[in-house]
């Protein structure tokens, strides 16, 4: 299966990178951008099919390594269910 993890700064934490990109867009005339935050996208290919257990392990990966709980939030999205091995 394939999963997508998005890691971003928690709300309320200053995101200077986001502000810089927003300013750059404004400079190009895109004044409608009210807020912009920069995050990280991690794409994972995993053995096995999607399941509650697989999702649980993904969330554990985020808590243990992929996101820093002090500054970052994460979301886990399964983008391709995949098939169980040994099944047609």
């Amino acid at each position: 299966m394939r999963a997508r993890v998005v890691v971003r700064l928690k709300r309320g934490i200053l995101d200077p990178q986001g502000s810089a990109v927003k300013r750059a867009l404004e400079g190009l005339g895109y004044r409608e951008v009210r807020d912009l935050r920069v995050g990280k996208l991690l794409e994972l290919e995993l053995d096995g099919a999607a399941s509650a257990q697989a999702r649980g392990r993904l969330e554990e990966m985020c808590r243990r390594l992929l996101a820093n709980p002090v500054t970052e939030d994460f979301t886990v999205e399964i983008v391709e269910e995949g098939t169980r091995p040994n099944l047609p």
């Binding site: 200077p16 390594l65 500054t71």
Partner: protein
């Protein structure tokens, strides 16, 4: 009494710490490989600067979960001292051996420059040769040195005098202009509750000789050696 200097893949201040401790201060020092877990022969373990594992996920994230860092918990519980500078500070925070986190510099650029820090807690094994309010001139070199902790953690840190250094002007004033990376409340270094694990963004090893960077960093090493010599038996081995 012996110092251990840890090498992770991507560490580069290892040689500098080794040189200062061994050649400038003439103290016994050895390198510790990141896969080692036996720290019994050391009294003080140093996590030097660098880009461990490229800092590709977050600065210090992967090293913070390495075997040697896993062994630091026991080492500290036995009374060992840990000093993390630059990437070492980032690793200690990632490993939750120190509170808070280090984020990308607010200017979004790397900064290598001279800074001044004021000493807030001079009662630690790392700082006992200093006085509170003393200003040290120490260089920094990092892209992710903005210290962050939430309000509650900050309150906790203050209540227990865990904030050790703050960026300041040459005269010792803690101002916005003196803050090179946007750290909350100008924090440049913090210690754990027990006072045995110190993390700081500046590089004391780059200020240990008059010819290169001055000697203010040496004061930290002198404090450490003083503590270790006096209490040489504190490791329960």
């Amino acid at each position: 009494m012996k110092f251990g200097v840890v090498i992770f893949p991507g560490t580069w201040s290892d040689c500098d710490f080794h040189y200062v401790i061994g050649e400038v201060l003439h103290q016994p020092v050895r390198y510790v490989w990141h896969r080692d877990t036996d720290l019994s022969e050391y009294d003080c373990v140093i996590l030097p600067g660098g880009f461990s594992y490229g800092d590709y996920l977050r600065a210090g994230a992967v090293a913070g979960r390495s075997p040697v860092v896993g062994a630091l918990g026991d080492f500290v519980a036995r009374g060992g001292l840990v000093l993390g500078s630059c990437n070492g500070f980032q690793i200690l925070c990632e490993a939750t051996l120190l509170p808070g986190a280090l984020m990308r510099n607010e200017c979004l650029q790397y900064r290598c420059q001279s800074t001044h820090v004021v000493v807030e807690n001079a009662e630690l094994p790392f700082t006992r040769g200093l006085r509170p309010g003393q200003v040290l001139k120490l260089p920094i070199s990092h892209g992710e040195g903005k210290y962050y902790a939430d309000l509650e953690t900050l309150r906790h840190l203050k209540a227990r005098s865990q904030i050790v250094f703050r960026y300041c002007t040459e005269a010792g004033e803690v101002t916005k202009e003196a803050n090179p990376n946007g750290s909350v409340e100008n924090i440049a270094g913090v210690v754990n509750e027990e006072g045995t694990v110190l993390g700081l963004m500046p590089h004391p090893e780059r200020a240990a000789e008059a010819a290169v960077g001055g000697t203010d960093g040496l004061l930290l090493f002198h404090s450490l050696i003083g503590s270790l010599v006096e209490d040489g038996s504190f490791l329960k081995r």
